[in-house]
Symmetry: C3
Subunit: 510 residues, 3 copies
């Protein structure tokens, strides 16, 4: 029936998308360089019939995707290393059809609170990791153990981070000659922190709009649009696969390229992309990547790419020229990482659980270390687990580097963690001095530790400068550890903090 | 006669450029993938004869251009959407010839004050929008209504901006233990602000140089070189098409790519390029653009490109796969923009006239709002016009996004305008407090509002941080609205300003 | 014998690398588009036999290199301009073989203190410029005269720079409420300054590791890994060709692309890459480089590239379309530079010797100018030599620009040198005032001039802001001379310094 409606609604755009895709003829076609091109289901044909005109960009993009060209049935037939699906067997319902609009946007309609009646179908706008898991369950399961999947609550359920967020996003007004701080509004949070951490997408009602196809009802969604890594979806799932595999081409090439990671990892708080760009790896990428193969699965080191991208070191399945597996694919971004080097006051072993708001330090605060650097050991992975993760990372390094090279690199990196922690401790002692001397209001007075001028200098010491220096050490991006928010800034900042104390009545030194 | 001179002067380079271009044989040639290649006029042949040796880079670049390959006559024969010319009919004088050196550099010799006798020709170095308008009159006319065309006077005829410019560019010396400010010198202005805003290019004399072809006379030009958007040309016209269509390939590919805009739109005052780079659009561009078609006219959404560049949203003719026009080409950069979000103290409706130095606010200052944010309504477009411009912008968005997506995006953007304006007002009240308490010299004392330490913090609040946050909201480039000169910086800056006031004798709070 | 061992050790990876390379058949093969592919020596065959499995990335990368494809014998037969080797005649020992692993890693075993016995060979890990000089002696000799080759000692043998380094990299602790500075540790220096300047690589012992091939001995190296431009190698040579020609593809394409230079030239102290990126040259590169030819030797202006990269202006052999030489290849980066514009307090004529720690200014300090800007003339090139270098640079400019264009450009540049020097002098006078009034401890008290808050502001004036402004003038990257660490920052910084002085008891102005 739905197919019938689709055909009835078929506008003049209908033939165009077929031309784009080259399919939907009675027999499947050979797609040069790709192989047999899958057939489109009748339901998706109905969608495309209108949407070629309504949202031509989406349809054309999808037509270029693997989803349009390779059916799950065909994908299932590939070898273990070549497969991009992880189901036991392909969804029967699909037969030999490709993955089109309807295949994703009509899944699990009852679980999806954003489901609406739309031209005879029950569709939802917000495709979620649970939808993707029909064909990619291993990836969804790995991702659920990734800190990123929990990025929303890791921020909002942590009272200290909530305070930091308010101190940044909240409007400050002048009242009787004094600054007065206000909590941040939701739209601001969605436009800033939650853009990456993920919003809560909920249905709050519906709206009627007149369209070329007549009046239609659409759900009203809070927190929309959003493609943050920890998005809370209307079906209760967490995350958005589109964070790194953006709609509707879902190209593995995009996920493998470092620009994709830059969306959330370029700021001064987490300058991973900047550091990579000036590293030797990043230099090689910039100069030679046009000749690399970003579509090959599995990904062959040396042959397909000369230098790693973010994905190659942190997530991708990488093999050698004879198909020997060097690194397993993982959607857990910390699986190859012994240390967490950003976002917190000191470097520390990675948390055991991806839900970090449960952590309590010696002071009872939701932090992985105390204010002076003592780790909250019970909540963090131990040395043995750190060793395992480091060994996983080194496997990729050793494809191109000797053990001495790798050992030398990591010895320096771990030395830099100590040095940046020491410089952070100094800044912490300076802000504590301000609190003790009553030059700023600190935790003893139940005041925010993020809202005063001297406190903000302290935050920059760890959130910007120590982080930047650690990233630079991790990926050999020298100046981000020196003059570009690195050691220069750390050493200057403690002098500025000391200078500030000195110039206040009752300051540290006169 | 000129052709004859050209032939007489023909050096050994002559055959080289023909090889580059593959033309100038008795019959026109087929250019693979381009079509028939146009013939070169005898005059241009003369130019190229020498300049292949004298300036080989220019000649080779031109040989790759559309100007070398498609004659205006041929261009005139194309369909409305495919045409890259906007004349009623092609210049008769050209016949079927291509657009070569002589066709542009000898135009309107009497209007051009930089015209000189050169090897028997009356040529000028500074090709201007009036020259380009022989074939591209619509583009010139649109551009004349663009703020950019007036960027020179918008800066220099605005007394406040002139003061800001002097406070930045002027040398400050130490005189008897005190800083003394000087006005900026012209070469410095040309090397800084006017690089983008445009210089005044005037002939001040002539100079003789000995060349391989003997002694020659050349005009001496002020403000040269320059490719600023508001350049004042020797023929009195404004702007430089080469700002975005750089010489001598004039590739539409260059104008459509975001790097071109970065020349003037990457700094902390207007970080459009940076924000785009970390947006999902920018991510997709970086990872997939090598497979996009940047030369197709008209430009087909989805098929030719997956995600928009600056040009796609702000200027380009964009069509759907069936040729339906989604957005009309416009060289007025604000035609799809309801709000002006940078360069001024508060966000405001776009000015009615592209000449902004005529604007007066409630205080009589040449600003679109008062110091506390009240808009100079008489000089700004009204809500109806804002609605029209927003609708134009949304047309492009809707090629790939639903109405809910677009509505959600713009609701957040407009909320962010309010929040950044509120945070700017707070900074303004802080600097006003400094003026009132005599801690800084303000307008009441007829002193510059840009020259003292506390005033410069105030400037950074709006010129850097509020702007960056607004751009981030406009294009979803999250961290430029948070830690990369965004809300973090706004919230820290007002605390630093308060701290400064507090630590001064007679400051706001003791 | 070595070949025999190689064959004995040959694992299953053996056939793979042959497939990658397409060689080592009894007869040499035709490589499409490259020509005859050279044979691999028996020694290198032995290396590759194991290393295809052990370090597959290296082997695959080398297989794509010119070294793998063109034998020195064949290279010797090319024309003067086409040659990428500079020996008198090719090394006889190689016969017609390609340059494989053994050809470089077994050279000069006695000179290499890092030589070890490895599977019957005497190999060394650290291939040095002296090794490369077997085929590329002219390049090594030019490079030895380059400041970069001496970057290690230029930093570490200069007492002032050593002090600056310690003030940045040394941990500062809080002792009794006061900051206490410590000297930096070696691992930190290697992770920061020396990453670019180069480390000292020395053998300190050996280590045994169990491998798939049994237990093996490896040397323990200090300062490893490192690819800094002034690396001190175990054979006593200086530099690392891999800084710009990274292993093991050694692609000229990489050295010609600007990203490669960004590794060391992107930070706020030397923002050359950033400035280039927003220049018209950089814009054209970003939009059109995919169509340029980065492999052609010689490099033809206009035909192979439309706009110059770093290499084109500073180092490359550039010719016109008829093969006329426009610029000679040089590995001396200052050969086309009259002025040194970064890293020091004032702009100055380039040093005569690439060893700069020998320089003494009027005050006896190892600086090319006095603190107030007087040049240490005896150690700097004179006006005539400056003129020669400028003329060399202009030759490239004139390929695409007229003499008026070039003259106008350089006049502005030299004006900007004067203005930035004047603004630096003002900052110097401010810090001197602080020293005089006892508000900071300066040279008169034998204290560091880099360690106090006000001194660090002074450093930023020249090391960041004046430098950035000069680079912007040199390459027309406007905002790096205005709001992005340019004139805005210079003018603000002196006001902040004045403000600091004013607010101190006994400051300059009350």
């Amino acid at each position: 029936m739905t197919g019938f409606i689709g055909r009835n609604l078929r506008p003049k755009g209908f033939s165009t998308w077929k031309a784009l895709l080259g399919v939907a003829l009675p027999i499947v076609l050979l797609w040069p360089g790709i192989g047999v091109c899958a057939a489109v289901s009748a339901d998706s044909e109905a969608c495309v019939g209108c949407h070629t005109t309504v949202t031509p960009g989406i349809v054309a993009d999808w037509a270029k995707s693997g989803h349009a060209r390779v059916s799950p049935q065909e994908a299932a037939g590939k070898g273990t290393l070549e497969r991009m699906v992880s189901f036991e067997k392909p969804p029967e319902k699909l037969g030999g059809n490709s993955v089109g609009c309807a295949e994703c946007h009509t899944l699990n309609p009852d679980a999806h609170k954003d489901t609406v009646e739309h031209q005879g179908y029950r569709i939802h706008a917000v495709v979620s990791p649970s939808d993707c898991a029909v064909c990619h369950p291993a990836e969804r399961n790995q991702y659920n153990e990734n800190l990123m999947a929990h990025a929303y609550a890791n921020l909002t359920a942590n009272s200290l981070y909530e305070d930091l967020k308010n101190s940044i996003n909240g409007v400050q007004t002048m009242e009787k000659g004094k600054l007065e701080a206000h909590s941040s509004d939701l739209a601001t949070d969605q436009d800033s922190c939650l853009a990456c951490h993920g919003t809560v997408v909920e249905v709050t009602g519906s709206v009627s709009r007149s369209t070329d196809m007549g009046d239609m009802e659409f759900p009203v969604l809070t927190g929309w649009p959003n493609q943050g890594v920890g998005r809370i979806n209307p079906d209760g799932s967490k995350g958005s696969c589109a964070s790194c595999h953006p709609r509707h081409q879902f190209s593995i090439e995009t996920a493998r390229k470092p620009s994709t990671c830059s969306q959330c990892h370029k700021g001064p708080d987490v300058p991973a992309y900047k550091v990579y760009s000036v590293s030797k790896h990043g230099n090689l990428y910039a100069s030679l990547e046009k000749d690399w193969n970003f579509k090959g699965v599995p990904w062959v080191v040396g042959k397909d790419f000369t230098a790693p991208t973010c994905a190659a070191c942190h997530m991708s399945l990488v093999v050698g020229p004879e198909g020997q597996v060097i690194s397993e694919r993982s959607h857990g971004a910390a699986d190859r990482l012994p240390w967490r080097i950003f976002g917190l006051i000191y470097a520390h072993a990675h948390p055991k659980s991806p839900e970090t708001s449960i952590i309590r330090n010696a002071e009872g605060l939701p932090l992985p270390t105390s204010l002076t650097g003592k780790p909250a050991t019970d909540f963090l992975i131990d040395a043995a687990e750190q060793g395992k993760r480091k060994a996983r990372m080194e496997k990729t390094c050793l494809s191109c580097h000797s053990q001495s090279w790798v050992d030398g690199h990591f010895a320096r990196f771990e030395n830099t963690l100590q040095v940046t922690d020491a410089m952070t401790l100094t800044a912490t002692k300076l802000v504590m001095t301000a609190w003790e001397k009553g030059l700023a209001k600190g935790p003893a007075l139940k005041d925010s530790v993020f809202n005063e001028a001297i406190e903000k200098k302290w935050v920059e010491q760890w959130l910007f400068y120590a982080n930047s220096t650690r990233f630079s050490a991790a990926m050999s991006g020298a100046d981000y550890g020196v003059f570009a928010n690195g050691r220069w800034s750390m050493s200057k900042n403690v002098r500025d903090m000391q200078d500030w104390l000195d110039s206040r009545p009752g300051g540290a030194r006169k």
